[in-house]
Symmetry: C3
Subunit: 469 residues, 3 copies
């Protein structure tokens, strides 16, 4: 088998060398010299887009820690491996296919300074820039790819938590490839690729500044379908269907993950201007901050009033819900509105968590569906309510405008329909081929040993040294 | 009770919407278009201020880890919750009141590129910009708010460690609000708000570049008052008053926290130029680095000479003391002086830790008072010694100038008097209303279960799933 | 003894004050006012160099976590202390000597915007800028120092892992000083200081954009010599010389360290343009990302095919090997080539790990030699293969040019010869003076108690409080 494996790798590498060599002559501006001449502001905009993208990428680490802390120790190595490999897999999917489907043909629609040179496309799907070769070998297009890549990776990794503790890793990696290559970019094209939602004839067209819908609702609803199809963990529901509580195994991981996600969000939202010359970035950063902090306080005091305890997990999920909620409206609203949006997002998250667990009876070990789909849909709608008309020509209900809300409602309908249908097909296909769920024995033992051959904290004997396999 | 709670939230939200809607017409430049036209350097300065502010905010995570590692496991959830919620509470206090008291009326005095449009005020307190509405809805003012907010949050969180393991969380959150709304900003106004200390007729006036005094001494002295008023932990002193050693529970957390704080300090000090067009930022970064590394080496070798051991906690606190010490003088001195300042800061921290523990008999579980007040006062004075006249017209004793040292001594007197008095009043009021200290039973059990209903690492049974409450 | 210690410190501080005072009159542009006038792009370039340098510095934390997770718990405090103090020690060595040997006399050769004012030197060693005094008290020189400092620190810390669990901390700190003052900077001068390798008459001269050779191969080969000279850990090889497996003690640390290193690499490679006006930074960032993700996937699937398990450590080391491999060619190649380079780097790392462990019988607890020397040498050669001629006038075999490969081969020969010889002399001298290896008793007990007086997680009794020593 190893021989065949080697030959496959060799063939893949040879094909890449050939493809690359053949296409590199078509590059647009691979050094940036022409771009710099045409746009003296390019350096500060590149610095902004790259560094905020680094911060967004770092959220992968936050998601890994957050989930690892919320699940049981016996599945932690499995969870960390999934969290690490999903963006690796997604990087190749988005490089090969996703980016071309999302942006090929429409150019960048946000931040004119970063507009790229891709050409062919239509309101439903893009079709150029595969493998970043040809005209896509260009400093601006590649800066743009970087920022979009880390957003795709964020959408993908949201699902890990909801399906944790019982999903096979090979099924998860297949999912990672498909969501990043197809489901995420096609819906993304409708909005950020200048597709039909972006150009709706209501208000300014549907608007989702940094992705409450494009990233978080896509991730959250995919998580809903996946968690439903893989089924609840053994023991989650008693025979009467009453849910049981599994305590988080490591609250230090949970709070660390939340801190890192919050840190990354300062890249996620302000970076989405794609240009530092758009000085609205300061308002966006502060709006993001205020929604996140308000979400934490509202959630934690809600728990205190109810149970007399200051629940740390509730504070963390309240923050995350607030951050998800402000992601779409962050550029369009004033600071006071961010406080309102964060507060409402926390309450919606709390309601949605109960709805998913008790009404839908879907087992989401980390609360990802409530945070990302609950907070995400609220965020898309909040644009239609609180946009104050100071930015991008977007005015919501508080300015007496109804049209924007119509566009936002259509957007919500579109993302719900698209994701529920395509995610169902995707997980169904994986289930019928690779299989979604680990065996009962593996699940009871924990996935770490059967799938990875390692425990998070090995026994004394394993540490003391064993004969080489 | 829940019904009343709901109505209170609803009323608060309604008030916000009303306030916001009423005031948004008065905005100055909420999109930044005019600002960009007037100042083509604005984008690079915004990028600098925002990103360095992100780094400063990330220090919250460092403080959380550092303290969690130094205290006992049974209080860790309590500590992490306080560390997470203090900046959340502080964000609303500084948004509503603190910023207006600190800067309203004086404009920014450091970094002219970031000067804001606030107007009314006097040498003792500011009075405009409440809730960031009206004229404060402006990209420059809001960028400035962001950077100042994370500094206020740093001062606030310093206290958590010194009062750890026996302070009620509701008391702590009340403190967080008051220090960020009143104590920190009013003293800050005297200096960074262009108040009476800034304009002292000695040397260039009192100078504290990034806050050895404004942030660290305020935090450290507030911690001293708080730790004294709440009293030592049970068992800290034996009947003869001899202190006992509680070993840090997790040295990995301690060193992680120190790394993250060091990382954030690269935002704290260089970012305090508030402008990237001030190229002194490179000197400031290197001065910060050298003082931190020298502090670690001096402290760890001091311990090695004394005990024959390389003490990791001493290395970490030596670094932090060096960083606190260089914070005021970082812009005014040469690299060689930073090495001296860091070395002396570490020795002062070691002396101060013993003084607090053995002479004052104040129980500070993490050494925050020694690091932040000890290192902080030294830093303010170091400006008067080592400023070499190359920057900001500030020359110290090494240039034969005595006037600057006079200003720095007055500043030290002012911060000591202001903080000891106001912190005493604040903690006394909290003690008489909410109560400061957990019960003896709660303290012996650890605060995690009684106040939060969770342990850091729950038992096997809790992880295995329990019936839903 | 303490009296002598105090006098030594006092004398050192007095000497610094004297030196500093005497030389500060010779400063070039310590405030940056002249630099800003001469180069209006300086602010964005300073922001880029400083912030990417902060990210590189943060890699120290990643290395600390990664190694701590791979070794046994009983040596963790020792490892964390080494990881923290090596860059502290290195900072003083590079400030006093290393920078002057590396760059004094040749100016910066990469990124003309950051060229500094140093003057005397030759193709083999630099000779100005000691202690950053005199002409080196200049904003540009000091920005340059910062970025180079964090690279030197990276090379130094690579060795910690390979020599872990049996090396005395004082020996390690002596090594840290010597490698940062002499071994690293002299070879670095040959290349980045414009020395004889940079000006080789083949291709464009030897090229190593961000240090696959200068940083990683130097670190990896020094690690090889050190690990060989200190000998394998007790029990690593059975009497027949067959290696035994010690399981990593904490996989959460391992994956956290890898995430943080990956994050820092976005500073390491793109920052090496030393200028944001060089828009190639976007291509460099994406090349870095793709090589890292491909390395992970290739390594983990190699393990899956061989053992049927998804090995998380293999994924992490695959990523790191990919990142090391792309470090030299990152600016010179297209994205498709980065995928190839990352894939090959992972396979070389896997082969090299076996070669070191089973053929050389050198015990490297973390795999640093395979990742950094294996990936590093491959990276230097990859420039000669995949450089596509779009950047810096560098064209490799894929463009039909052989000359560049000749230069790269000479570079590889030079780094191997230089490091093996000088590292041997250095470790031999340390062995004969301080001694390299802990005693058998210390090693069996673990180094934490004998050298540091602390455990990572102390016993219940230690936490409960003991009488003050």
């Amino acid at each position: 088998m190893l021989g065949g494996q080697r030959m496959a790798w060799a063939a893949a590498l040879a094909a890449l060398v050939f493809l690359g060599g053949a296409s590199s002559v078509l590059a647009t501006d691979p050094t940036g010299a022409d771009t710099l001449k045409a746009s003296p502001d390019a350096p500060v905009n590149f610095v902004w887009v790259l560094i905020t993208g680094f911060l967004v990428w770092f959220m992968q680490y936050g998601f890994a820690l957050l989930g690892a802390g919320l699940i049981r120790v016996k599945n932690t190595v499995n969870y960390l491996t999934k969290s690490f490999l999903d963006f690796c897999m997604g990087s190749l999917a988005f490089w090969a296919f996703g980016f071309a489907f999302m942006f090929g043909g429409s150019g960048a629609v946000i931040g004119s300074a970063m507009a790229n040179g891709l050409e062919a496309g239509n309101p439903f799907i893009g079709s150029s820039g595969f493998f970043l070769t040809g005209a896509a070998y260009d400093v601006t297009t590649i800066a743009y790819w970087w920022f979009q890549m880390v957003f795709a990776a964020t959408a993908a990794t949201i699902v890990a938590g909801a399906m944790a503790e019982r999903t096979k890793i090979n099924a998860y990696l297949a999912y990672s490839f498909l969501v990043t290559a197809l489901i995420y970019p096609i819906y993304g094209h409708w909005l950020w690729g200048g597709g039909w939602l972006w150009t709706l004839p209501f208000g300014a067209g549907a608007r989702d500044f940094a992705g409450s819908g494009v990233v978080h609702t896509v991730g959250g609803l995919t998580a809903l379908v996946g968690a439903w199809m893989v089924g609840p963990r053994i023991g989650k529901y008693d025979p009467q269907g009453t849910p049981r509580v599994f305590k988080p195994s490591n609250l230090a991981f949970v709070v660390a993950g939340t801190f890192i996600l919050f840190f990354g969000w300062f890249g996620f939202n302000p970076g989405s201007t794609l240009a530092a010359t758009d000085l609205r970035i300061s308002v966006i950063a502060v709006n993001t901050f205020l929604a996140g902090t308000t979400g934490a306080l509202v959630a934690v005091y809600w728990g205190f009033v109810k149970n007399g305890k200051m629940d740390l997990v509730l504070a963390c999920n309240g923050t995350l819900a607030g951050l998800v909620g402000i992601t779409a409206p962050c550029a369009y609203v004033a600071p006071w509105a961010s406080v309102v949006i964060g507060a409402v997002a926390a309450l919606i998250m709390i309601w949605a968590a109960g709805f998913v667990e008790r009404t839908l009876k879907v087992d989401d070990p980390v609360g990802a569906i409530a945070v990302h789909a609950g907070g995400g849909i609220w965020g898309v709608l909040a644009v239609g309510i609180f946009a104050d008309g100071t930015y991008g020509g977007v005015s919501g209900l508080i300015k007496g405008q109804v049209g924007q809300m119509v566009a936002q409602l259509i957007d919500v309908g579109a993302v719900v329909a698209w994701v529920l249908v395509t995610a169902f097909v995707m997980f169904w296909l994986i289930k019928k081929t690779i299989g979604l769920r680990a065996t009962r024995e593996e699940e009871l033992q924990g996935l770490d040993i059967p799938e990875h051959g390692s425990e998070l904290y090995p026994s004394e004997e394993a540490l003391a040294g064993t004969a080489k396999a």
